[in-house]
């Protein structure tokens, strides 16, 4: 690509970079702060004394969380969940997006199906009917509850539909002339071209399922089956002080354990941060459209 190297352009470059760096700095400071808290002495954190450096550097909170066998159980549950959900979401999203990206003349009921999705995205019966439904399917305490009960990822589908719609029509026409059917077109042509958006929605799915803790709490009956975030968030429990017992008084001293709270954030973040750069290259660099002869 031809570089524009005039002075004003250079200055613009520098200004842009400065703005971005300031933005990045503002984002990293709270993260850095949380990291410092997680590595600090509990009492210091409780007193709000930790600012930009850990005080009383130690790994205690991390040990406390990771040292437990239950941690690995729930970690593994989350991994399973993410893999299953990622796979199913990917396939279903792609399958849904293709027909919905067609024009009305090719697929007359397309608008109906589309609006049903929009409707379902906005309306829901609330927590109780949803819970009763999931329970009636016998999914309570099963990993499939975690994978499926969240429902179809409608927003992701719409994103992919939008992307498909913007792909050049010539691609399809060329394939049709060669006698290709819709399945071939979808999987052999559209999907490879849609890598950026597919990487994006895969990322959303992974992040979503990894961070999700509420379903884990209500759909799993016992701790052994909790996914990671549900397991971790119960360690830093807010005690209902309206009814305290002797053991709970003891837990009061845990109440102000902000180091634990902070450590939990990082442990949860790490796997996604590992995946992220891996996916990042798919939607930053994209792919060349050179395969298409204009």
């Amino acid at each position: 690509m031809v570089r524009d190297t005039t002075l004003s352009s250079r200055i613009a470059d520098i200004i842009i970079i400065i703005i971005l760096l300031i933005g990045a700095l503002s984002c990293i400071l709270p993260i850095w702060y949380t990291l410092c808290v997680s590595l600090s002495e509990k009492s210091a954190a409780a007193a709000g004394m930790v600012k930009l450096w850990p005080i009383g550097f130690n790994f205690n909170s991390y040990e406390q969380i990771i040292g437990d066998r239950k941690f690995f159980n729930s970690f593994w549950t989350s991994v399973k969940r993410v893999i299953l959900a990622g796979g199913i979401n990917f396939i279903v999203t792609v399958l849904m997006a293709y027909p919905l990206s067609k024009e009305k003349k090719e697929f007359p009921l397309r608008n109906v199906f589309m609006w049903i999705l929009i409707f379902c995205m906005l309306f829901n019966g609330g927590l109780i009917p949803w819970y009763i439904t999931v329970r009636s399917y016998g999914l309570i305490n099963s990993i499939w509850a975690l994978v499926l009960a969240g429902g179809l990822p409608i927003f992701n589908v719409i994103l992919v539909v939008n992307y498909f719609r913007n792909l050049p029509k010539e691609l399809e026409e060329a394939a049709l002339i060669d006698g290709a059917g819709p399945w071939y077109i979808l999987f052999k042509i559209f999907v490879p071209l849609a890598i950026p958006v597919l990487a994006t929605v895969t990322l959303f799915t992974i992040v979503n399922h990894w961070n999700e803790f509420f379903h884990g709490l209500v759909l799993m009956a016992k701790e052994e089956r909790y996914p990671l975030q549900t397991y971790i968030q119960q360690l830093v429990v807010v005690i209902d002080t309206s009814a305290m017992t002797e053991d709970q008084y003891k837990r009061i001293s845990e109440l102000s354990n902000q180091t634990l709270n902070a450590a939990k954030v990082f442990i949860a973040m790490i796997p996604v941060l590992i995946i992220y750069p891996f996916l990042q290259r798919y939607f930053i660099h994209g792919i060349t459209l050179g395969s298409v002869k204009e």
Binding site: M1, V2, D4, S9, A12, I16, L20, L21, G23, A24, C27, P30, I31, Y33, T34, L95, M96, Y98, P99, E106, F107, F113, L117, I118, F119, C120, M121, L122, F123, N124, G125, G126, I128, P129, I132, T133, G151, L152, V157, I158, L159, V161, R165, L176, G181, P182, L186, P196, V197, T200, L203, N211, N261, V265, L273, Y276, F283, H285, I287, T288
Partner: protein, 296 residues
């Protein structure tokens, strides 16, 4: 047309997704009738007493409801605008960066605050804006009086909006960033040959190239016009800022705290969904009629 014979295949493709939708979205949706009933768990959804619009009337008759409604609309509208513009601008700026490592580095960093829950972030925010915190110290350095930020009714909504936009812009930008990659690079090349400046590129290639994404995200976000962000407000508000900070969701939460009012909560949810749906439909219709453009 030649594609008509593929219709059966289209149905087949839609099948798994729609089964999933029916099982987990549509069937539970029938429970929305709770909004019109006095839900008694002992007898179940269907046998609970029908009270029609009582729940809705109750909502509107409360002295504060107008105020709560206005707060909600104000905060969420500002958020919608902020969450559309800032990530977009950020994605465009990032697009200009040539050094790949820097680009990826910055992108990874700004993505991070999205992961912090509001429970943690609220502590940080309250700290940063506290009476003796860095922001007030900055004010002092400029000779101004320190401000008790989170006690101020006039400032509270803005604090909410700005912190939310800040938290999410990195994440929200991802969609734009990925959309930017789908613009054909040869367009930029031919533009360069024609002597186009960066601004020209922006106006004639970049923005049009991702316009459909921008419009789509804009329209969809209108569906959230009554979701001002419960988690965030709940963790940041206090009685001093109730008048501008109390939103529909925090109000419903407090109702539910004292008494598990599922009927009311469902009624409110229904109202929010209905208004959001109307907004989306309206924007679709307007775009279709006046710009001849189908958003989705």
């Amino acid at each position: 047309m030649r594609n008509k014979k593929f219709i059966n295949h289209y149905y087949l493709m839609l099948l798994p997704g729609y089964i999933w939708l029916i099982l987990f979205s549509i069937i539970p949706m029938f429970g929305i009738v709770i909004a019109f009933k006095d839900y008694n768990p002992g007898v179940g959804i269907w046998k609970s007493e029908w009270i029609g619009l009582e729940n809705f009337k109750y909502m509107f008759l409360l002295s504060d409801s107008k105020n709560i409604f206005i707060n909600t609309v104000f905060i969420s509208t500002m958020k919608i605008i902020g969450n559309l513009i800032v990530p977009l601008v950020f994605a465009l700026l990032l697009n200009e960066v040539r050094i790949s490592a820097l680009k990826r580095g910055i992108q990874t960093i700004v993505y991070l605050p999205h992961f912090l829950s509001w429970v943690i972030l609220s502590s940080i925010l309250l700290d940063v804006f506290s009476y003796t915190g860095p922001v007030n110290q900055l004010l002092l350095a400029f000779g101004k009086e320190p401000i008790l930020f989170f006690a101020r009714e006039d400032l509270f909504p803005w604090l909410i909006v700005f912190s939310d936009v800040w938290k999410n812009f990195g994440f929200n930008a991802i969609v734009y960033i990925s959309a930017l990659t789908s613009i054909n690079p040869s367009l930029y090349e031919s533009a360069a040959i024609d002597g186009a400046t960066r601004l020209d590129n922006l106006r004639y290639i970049t923005i049009p190239g991702i316009m459909s994404t921008i419009v789509l995200l804009g329209a969809l976000s209108l569906g959230n016009v009554l979701n001002a962000g419960f988690d965030q407000v709940f963790n940041l508000y206090n009685p001093l800022v109730y008048s501008t900070g109390d939103i529909i969701d925090t109000w419903v939460y407090r109702m539910g705290l004292l008494n598990m009012q599922y009927s009311l909560a469902t009624a409110v949810g229904l109202l929010k969904s209905a208004i959001g749906f109307v907004m989306i439909t309206l924007s679709y219709y307007l775009a279709s009629k006046y710009a001849n453009y189908r958003i989705f």
